[in-house]
Symmetry: T
Amino acid sequence: MARDVWVLHGPNLGILGRREPRLYGKVSLASIDRVIVELGQELGLNVATFQTNHEGALVDRLTVAMDEVDGCLLNPAALSHGSLALADTLRSMTIPVVEVHLTNLYARERDRQISLTGGAVAGVIMGFGPASYELGLHALAAMIAPAKARRKRT
Amino acid sequence: MARDVWVLHGPNLGILGRREPRLYGKVSLASIDRVIVELGQELGLNVATFQTNHEGALVDRLTVAMDEVDGCLLNPAALSHGSLALADTLRSMTIPVVEVHLTNLYARERDRQISLTGGAVAGVIMGFGPASYELGLHALAAMIAPAKARRKRT
Amino acid sequence: MARDVWVLHGPNLGILGRREPRLYGKVSLASIDRVIVELGQELGLNVATFQTNHEGALVDRLTVAMDEVDGCLLNPAALSHGSLALADTLRSMTIPVVEVHLTNLYARERDRQISLTGGAVAGVIMGFGPASYELGLHALAAMIAPAKARRKRT
Amino acid sequence: MARDVWVLHGPNLGILGRREPRLYGKVSLASIDRVIVELGQELGLNVATFQTNHEGALVDRLTVAMDEVDGCLLNPAALSHGSLALADTLRSMTIPVVEVHLTNLYARERDRQISLTGGAVAGVIMGFGPASYELGLHALAAMIAPAKARRKRT
Amino acid sequence: MARDVWVLHGPNLGILGRREPRLYGKVSLASIDRVIVELGQELGLNVATFQTNHEGALVDRLTVAMDEVDGCLLNPAALSHGSLALADTLRSMTIPVVEVHLTNLYARERDRQISLTGGAVAGVIMGFGPASYELGLHALAAMIAPAKARRKRT
Amino acid sequence: MARDVWVLHGPNLGILGRREPRLYGKVSLASIDRVIVELGQELGLNVATFQTNHEGALVDRLTVAMDEVDGCLLNPAALSHGSLALADTLRSMTIPVVEVHLTNLYARERDRQISLTGGAVAGVIMGFGPASYELGLHALAAMIAPAKARRKRT
Amino acid sequence: MARDVWVLHGPNLGILGRREPRLYGKVSLASIDRVIVELGQELGLNVATFQTNHEGALVDRLTVAMDEVDGCLLNPAALSHGSLALADTLRSMTIPVVEVHLTNLYARERDRQISLTGGAVAGVIMGFGPASYELGLHALAAMIAPAKARRKRT
Amino acid sequence: MARDVWVLHGPNLGILGRREPRLYGKVSLASIDRVIVELGQELGLNVATFQTNHEGALVDRLTVAMDEVDGCLLNPAALSHGSLALADTLRSMTIPVVEVHLTNLYARERDRQISLTGGAVAGVIMGFGPASYELGLHALAAMIAPAKARRKRT
Amino acid sequence: MARDVWVLHGPNLGILGRREPRLYGKVSLASIDRVIVELGQELGLNVATFQTNHEGALVDRLTVAMDEVDGCLLNPAALSHGSLALADTLRSMTIPVVEVHLTNLYARERDRQISLTGGAVAGVIMGFGPASYELGLHALAAMIAPAKARRKRT
Amino acid sequence: MARDVWVLHGPNLGILGRREPRLYGKVSLASIDRVIVELGQELGLNVATFQTNHEGALVDRLTVAMDEVDGCLLNPAALSHGSLALADTLRSMTIPVVEVHLTNLYARERDRQISLTGGAVAGVIMGFGPASYELGLHALAAMIAPAKARRKRT
Amino acid sequence: MARDVWVLHGPNLGILGRREPRLYGKVSLASIDRVIVELGQELGLNVATFQTNHEGALVDRLTVAMDEVDGCLLNPAALSHGSLALADTLRSMTIPVVEVHLTNLYARERDRQISLTGGAVAGVIMGFGPASYELGLHALAAMIAPAKARRKRT
Amino acid sequence: MARDVWVLHGPNLGILGRREPRLYGKVSLASIDRVIVELGQELGLNVATFQTNHEGALVDRLTVAMDEVDGCLLNPAALSHGSLALADTLRSMTIPVVEVHLTNLYARERDRQISLTGGAVAGVIMGFGPASYELGLHALAAMIAPAKARRKRT
């Protein structure tokens, strides 16, 4: 039986492909979402995606997620570095959450090197561009249904 | 034709399983190495592993790696946070390197939240325990031979 | 004649009881609201309550409050420590506002010890769990109608 | 042919005139908007104005602006000092943006002296009260249609 | 049967009313003590008060309090911000202690915003002038004999 | 009757056009001065310009300005960030001063983001290249003779 | 008619002459007191001296001083740098206080360069050894009875 | 001929055994004193012990010690981290002083890791619980009468 | 035989009386100079005064002073807090220098509390307004010709 | 039956006696080792000593020590202040380790006052020169075989 | 054909030999200039020297140097650590500049360890006393006419 | 008679020419060594070179150098900024050591601007690429045999 997963994208990810392409690449968010939904099907996961520029909407959505789905993949984008509210929500989650970033935060300017939200989730994958999402979905799948996912990967 | 990969473990990883198990778990390094070598075979990678407690030995080994292998998976452990020498070596690498950590650095004490070496590699995966290595090898495989690795994962 | 008071709850208070119960306890927000409304009746205050995870919605509501009610009881939660926007609104208020916290901020981690919003209100009560709200309503009542409230308490 | 410009006002500017008048003056936002719209007409600019207390709504609006108008005049108010999300949006803008402030940030308390968003726009004008908006519109006009605007000013 | 409570006032509170009245008001300590003793009687508490300018004397008194009374109300005044010794004593207390301040520390200069001692007690009430003591005594009463105190307040 | 205005340029502005042109552009100071003098004539201002690399000479000149002219336009250049002496002079001025910068300080390296002198004048305009001076002269004109200048601009 | 002045010496001044003589010299406190008392007589001041190692005792004594004498000369010694309690007392004084130091604090190690108490008195004289007390008494005399003291000095 | 030694205990050590036993253990101060006095006899030292919660009393006592005894063993407890006055006294001592701590300061929270007083004595022993005092007395004995103490230990 | 002394005034002291009179008072520099010259005559000192807004001119003058006069009284004004060059000159002086300030630096904003130059002279007198200069001349006289100056003062 | 103990000396201790003798004394390491081995015999401990300038070699040796000996005495020298790798090893040790230093770190320059490794061992003894090792061996003996060691000392 | 070089000396170098000789030695500036001029002749360089205590004069001189000479040797002395204006000039230079210091800045107090101006020139030579100038002239010669200078040195 | 000199290269210098050539150039270490050995012959110095990536090996080698050679030229590379152990060794050296860097540390990122090791040697030369070594050898030669080397250079 398939599990449900939400993939949540934070501020400015809606303009991906147009946004500082030297840093974030030219792939659009729609195209990332398509790849992730397909990969979800292979891993036995029903993936739904969601993008918002509102911190509060991410908190709302994660609050609901606890009752609705089996795990979340989250790219908090700029909110990673300062949103204590979002970090608090994540610390309260009763389902696994994996944080992903397109860029490698440790290679960014000082104020972006620490992720407050990253410290409130299971694990973080960053720096692989769109592939960060794919690796993140693999990691999440293993946490939701470890045995089966491991079979898949081998 | 198979590609060659080195998996390099930094200080104190040799005593994994005995070392602060509440943080680092009870799995031994030998057992992680075994899983990684096997996974390498599935991904068409010849994996050789190496552990050292000497910063200089990691620098030496990475220097050689540029001429010997196609990519490296590195867990610099405690050296992540202060070894400018190791970060310099990584910044000079002409082959892809992926950094992995058993624990989620963002959930650790302040002095361990930033990885100097992490800022000198392609990407970082952390917090998934031994699975960090597995995800890292997938990420590395995709960088060495993207097309093929992607087929594998799907 | 009864006075009107709004009790405003900030981010993540909607999941109270489920959220890190070791820190925040097991009482739900609905139950706190019920106690506060009842206490309001005893103190001659019409209490209405409101919870939101959106910083902007708190600013909106406080802006309206100036024209609608006689005072506010506010728990800004995580927004206490970083929301300059909310602090600016509070500094502009023409009615008394009391800030309350379930936990004692001075006993929390360093980044939560200072409340920016707390510096923009009349007074702060923290560390008494749900009773912080009750003490806060007493304090607010005394500011709205000092003489009468004092009689009540004695 | 007239150009289109949006003037965006951030948190707490809706209560201008009532808000800490010693700092921000007694002029209402409506009256500033009226002056700016008129000045726009003289400069050949269709000016539309918008105020919000929500960081996310500013990000949304700027995202749309790239496709809808020729330039923006922005007063991010309290968000200037901490909103990395808004700064990221501004850094992605493909149309000119000018930031204005009623007060002189350099004469304010330490935490308000640096504007993160200010570092992501073309230029900043601050300290002239409502006239900051007028000077900003002149500056913006010159960037959108330099030759014509210059003639205007001389 | 009545419970015993000590109200302890730290340095410079003896000159209350003469001391920077713009900040601390014109009410004398004697008058605050009188109100508190009376309120204690209503709450079934025998209240004794004590003022000292000596950090060591506060430590001495709190040490004795553990064996003599059921709870303490403490205004450590300037010692709040730097006395590790006093904070250590408070952390060792086996009876409840509530800290109160006449002024709102979050609205004071930076060095006074954090209370070391505040982090070692149950809760903190600040900013309400002499009413801080009254609210504090209510809070303390509820901790010493919760059921009865609650009845009192309703 | 025309008013008198001094435009004062600080250190290194004499080599404008030759100095780090990627940052400061290729326009010479002479050419900026010419434009400003002409604009002054349109605005009814007698503009005289002055450049010096000596902090003391700027202090001397501003001291004299109080008795000689009706307002100053000042670009303190590198002195903005560290000259307490110059800031002290500006704080003593009895005529309006507007500070301008060719570059946007908020987009510069950290040590140049705060302007000490900027905190001692009426307002600051920065980031518009030579146009910063033009906008600054408009702002100054409005302060010296508000009504007339406003008519001019509309 | 003679005025009354107290000269208060803080911690470790009792062992003057034996205490780090390279820094503080070889003159004993008794000998300083003798010179000060004599100088007081010439200036028409009844000088009484007092030494204590207890912060609380200095606070007590200053509290009494307000009702008993016309001014104080204070050397808070090590308490200068950290005693907020003493600084609070000084800020409440209704009679003039002059702070003196044997050594020049600006020439000492970093932690001793700022005097919290110094910021709460009229003026500070430091670095002249025992002569700091003599200059301080002159300064105090001028504040208590300006006209007469000035005659003396001229 | 026996030498005289004072063992001085600082704030909160009087409630040892009742104070945060997880940190400081369950042994009472009386029992530590008993062991130390006995050990003193074996080492040819007349040991007298003293406990106070007053910084000033420790300074007083150390001042007297210089004339009365041959060495001191000191546990300044919380005063270690902030008492410049006590550090000044220690720096003036003409007899050897050894500082001891029950807990290992380097394993405590950041604000307790540095001992100001520790930098003003001969040596520091910390982390061995009550045995820190015993080791400290051995160290002190060796400093007072090196040859004999060494014979004792071998 | 009379000694020679230079009194050197730093930046912005030339506009004393007009400069932020709330802080610096309404007395002009000329009037201070007159008082100082007269006082010098009483003390047997030929006093010459000098004011400059140029750091380099102060360094030049002090360099010459070593060969020309017997001591200097210096008010470095804003240069106190940042001029390493001036501090270096002072540290090289072979004649005594006394630093004076009209205001009490410890009561000023944080950046003005430390005087770099103050750490390079014999002693500092601050906070007494124009009387700081008078006290400073007494202090200097005592250093140049101690015996005689002392007689004068008594 | 005798217990086994390793005494490990870190970087630059091999040149003891020649190295900054004002700080570290003129005793050679060989001579310290000789005293320690002898003292070990008296305490029933087989002591072996080891010196290295390589951080990695200390980590290697400690890793082996867990299986080979009953306790370690460690002087990490310069590595104390920055080696997270060594601190990690120490935190993993299953046998007691005591850290010793020849000098008193609290009396050294700021960067040497905190010992990272010191926070990962049982206790620290510092400042007694070569006697630090002797006291450390006593402390270690007591931890390995408490009852017996105590008899010895008494 | 000989090249022209200016050697510029900053503040306080004019009193070299008399200035803190323990740090800066006893050689006069005239004697250094003589050696440098002679060495220049050997290297085919016409060397002119210049000393000033005025930051602005150094900026003036360097500005002219660009049009007059082929390279500069600069000792900015105390201006190295804080003069952004001078660093800006150096960053604009179109001829090579070498910075020299008599003392080794890394061995000086913290505030002198970083040279702002040093970061704006080609290279820095420090710590060799007057020989720093000689080495610097060699370095400069190699940059102006590499081939010839190299022949000289070999 | 020729003197012996060791030239020691730290971490990552072995891959010079391949390592971030934009920063460090394209010249290999072998080629630098060849030039230095030849220059040594001209200066009467037997030069031997050594490269290692191990901090401990540099410490070992410098320890030996004291007994074997007359001086050292050292490029500690990344170890400059953090190796207290290496700095300690250098501070113990009884022969002259000169530190060189290919790049100008003052023009690098903040963490590389200070050299701990640089503060423990005679002097530092940086920013001249391979020529830094040549200048360094000249400087060292002058220290080993000043008179002769000076003749050489002229």
